[in-house]
């Protein structure tokens, strides 16, 4: 006989701790716990499994739907220009390698723009990923103007009839105004070549990021019109809870998740999987 665990007075308190421990933040956690209380009252369920199922539904409501990101039929234009931004060390360059591989596997031609001309060996690192993914790369010398690399890449993509262009940028803290200005300039030059580009500006966030992730997303959304979030390093023990706050407050959808350091370690965001990460 298997007796199902019942909800008791400690259940919601314990759950609250689990949500806080997942970097959901106090406000979203309080909101979620009160929604659960309402649902318990309304639906009258008493078993913990039902509570967890409801939690998963509530979280899914917050984070929205999944996207068919690598499907050519969903591309907004040709070339589909994607700019990758974010603070230092979150996983931008590695993610680009994985994305290029996925696009190519799905039948698209991909060009990578090495617009991190600042960090030591950034171009070499990206070249290795381009080679692993079997795609071309546009690069200039280290220390050159990143906007010029992007301009070059836009023109090359059009003349070579490429399906996708992915732009790597140098990591930068959102608090560095001069670096944000540099990024804005890259954006302007990009538009000079292709007015509608970039069609997606994806902000990479480390899954382990705390409440500072919200501050990062606010700035990158305001200054760069970020259109979505990539959560990298979700293969650790962190749950990426800050992404829920980012969606809730800034309406930035989670598009992709990074789950390791290999070429295949990239998945499209699936709300149910993400939500299950918070279930004890």
């Amino acid at each position: 006989i298997v007796t199902k665990k019942k909800i008791d007075n400690d259940t919601l308190e314990d759950l609250e701790e689990v949500l806080i421990a997942s970097d959901l933040g106090t406000e979203p956690t309080n909101e979620i716990i009160s929604k659960l209380k309402e649902r318990i009252k309304k639906e009258g369920f008493i078993e913990i499994d039902d509570l967890y199922e409801t939690l998963s539904e509530v979280v899914c409501d917050y984070v929205g739907e999944e996207r068919d990101f690598f499907n050519k039929d969903t591309f907004p234009a040709k070339p589909f220009v994607i700019m990758i931004i974010g603070i230092n060390g979150v996983g931008k360059t590695t993610t680009i390698g994985k994305m290029a591989h996925r696009f190519r596997a799905a039948g698209s031609s991909v060009l990578i723009a090495a617009a991190d001309t600042f960090r030591a060996a950034a171009i070499e690192q990206l070249e290795i990923w381009a080679e692993r993914a079997g795609v071309d790369i546009v690069k200039h010398k280290s220390g050159s103007d990143p906007a010029a690399v992007v301009f070059d890449a836009m023109n090359a993509a059009r003349s070579r009839n490429m399906d996708v262009v992915i732009i790597d940028t140098a990591g930068r803290l959102h608090t560095k105004t001069n670096l944000i200005e540099e990024l804005k300039k890259i954006n302007r030059i990009c538009k000079r070549a292709i007015p509608e580009a970039p069609h997606e500006t994806l902000l990479v966030i480390d899954a382990i990021t705390g409440q500072n992730g919200l501050s990062q997303a606010k700035v990158f959304k305001e200054t760069m019109d970020a259109s979505g979030i990539i959560i990298a390093k979700l293969d650790g023990t962190a749950k990426g809870g800050i992404a829920l706050s980012i969606k809730r407050q800034l309406d930035l959808p989670i598009v992709l998740i990074g789950t390791g350091e290999g070429l295949d370690d990239l998945r499209e965001f699936v709300p149910k999987d993400y939500a299950m990460g918070f279930v004890p």
């Binding site: 970097d23 030591a120 060996a121 070499e124 990923w129 803290l173 382990i208 705390g210």
Partner: protein, 289 residues
């Protein structure tokens, strides 16, 4: 800010007559919320507030003209005490001093290796390039080394970090380098194989300092990561990076509490000169916002 919020709370409470212990506890809830917003681990925050409560429900606060200020002072002093209680500088006492860097992916280790080399530039530092996994990791160190005119020991096409460290140590001893800085690949605390590699590296090279490098913007998971690295390696110090951002850095409190190890340096930028000695009072101020 926290002090404004506390002052408002106490103004309101004062209006209701003389302050009680229960009033103080309410005010401390506000402090606990501020700590959570600053990414202090929730268990660490709870324990911390319980300890502060003992001190805060005394007569001086209850009878004070500015109880809000009193509470903040008690919280601040307690934070400084925890953050700074194991303060110790990294001293060069061995020949060579062997500093091994470890931490999660992207935390800032490779850049830190260059910063430490620059910090100890008068001691003839040598950096050992032992990240054999990340694309162009060794190239990154070579470029950084050239920029600051520091020697980097590497072996092309070698996939054995232990062999590279051994040879680097031998070179350091033979050629009279004062400091050997070992850069390692970023790794997850739950990656059994990679954590074993670090344990083996420690056993064979016997570093005189093991620095755990952690990004200041990390959230609640800080305690899981830090305790696992500490259990496996018994590191001797912590370096907090990217403090030039606006992360409140509550992870500093969590990691200090959980491991009892000193924070030795903070990194405040991408350049070799962007390294500072850790100041517990500045960190406490930052965490409290």
């Amino acid at each position: 800010s926290l002090s404004e919020r506390l002052n408002d709370i106490f103004k309101r409470l004062r209006g209701q007559g003389k302050l009680t212990e229960a009033n103080i506890k309410d005010a401390l809830r506000e402090v606990r919320l501020a700590l959570l917003e600053a990414d202090v681990n929730f268990k660490v925050a709870k324990d911390f507030i319980n300890e502060v409560q003992e001190k805060a429900i005394g007569e001086e606060v209850l009878k004070s003209l500015s109880p809000g200020q009193q509470v903040i002072k008690i919280v601040f002093d307690e934070l400084v005490k925890i953050l700074g209680q194991h303060t110790s500088l990294l001293e060069i006492k061995n020949k060579p001093e062997i500093i091994m860097l470890c931490g999660l992916q992207g935390s800032g280790k490779t850049t830190l290796a260059a910063k430490l080399a620059h910090f100890f530039r008068r001691r003839k530092p040598l950096i050992a390039a032992c990240d054999v996994y990340r694309p162009a990791a060794i190239e990154q160190l070579k470029v950084l080394g050239k920029q600051i005119q520091i020697d980097v020991y590497s072996i092309d096409n070698c996939k054995d970090p232990i062999l590279i460290s051994k040879e680097a140590l031998q070179a350091a001893e033979e050629e009279d380098y004062g400091v050997l800085i070992i850069d390692t690949a970023g790794r997850l605390h739950i990656d059994e194989e990679m954590m074993n590699e670090l344990e083996n590296l420690k056993a064979i090279i016997k570093p005189t300092e093991i620095l755990f490098v952690i990004d200041s913007m990390i959230g609640q998971d800080a305690v899981n990561v830090a305790s696992e690295f500490n259990n496996r390696l018994e590191f001797s110090g912590i370096v907090l990076t990217k403090l030039d951002g606006d992360a409140r850095g509550g992870a500093a409190l969590s990691v200090s509490r959980i491991t009892g190890k000193p924070i030795k340096f903070v990194s405040i930028g991408e350049k070799p000169k962007d390294l500072e000695i850790f100041h517990p009072d500045r960190m406490a101020q930052r965490i409290l916002g």
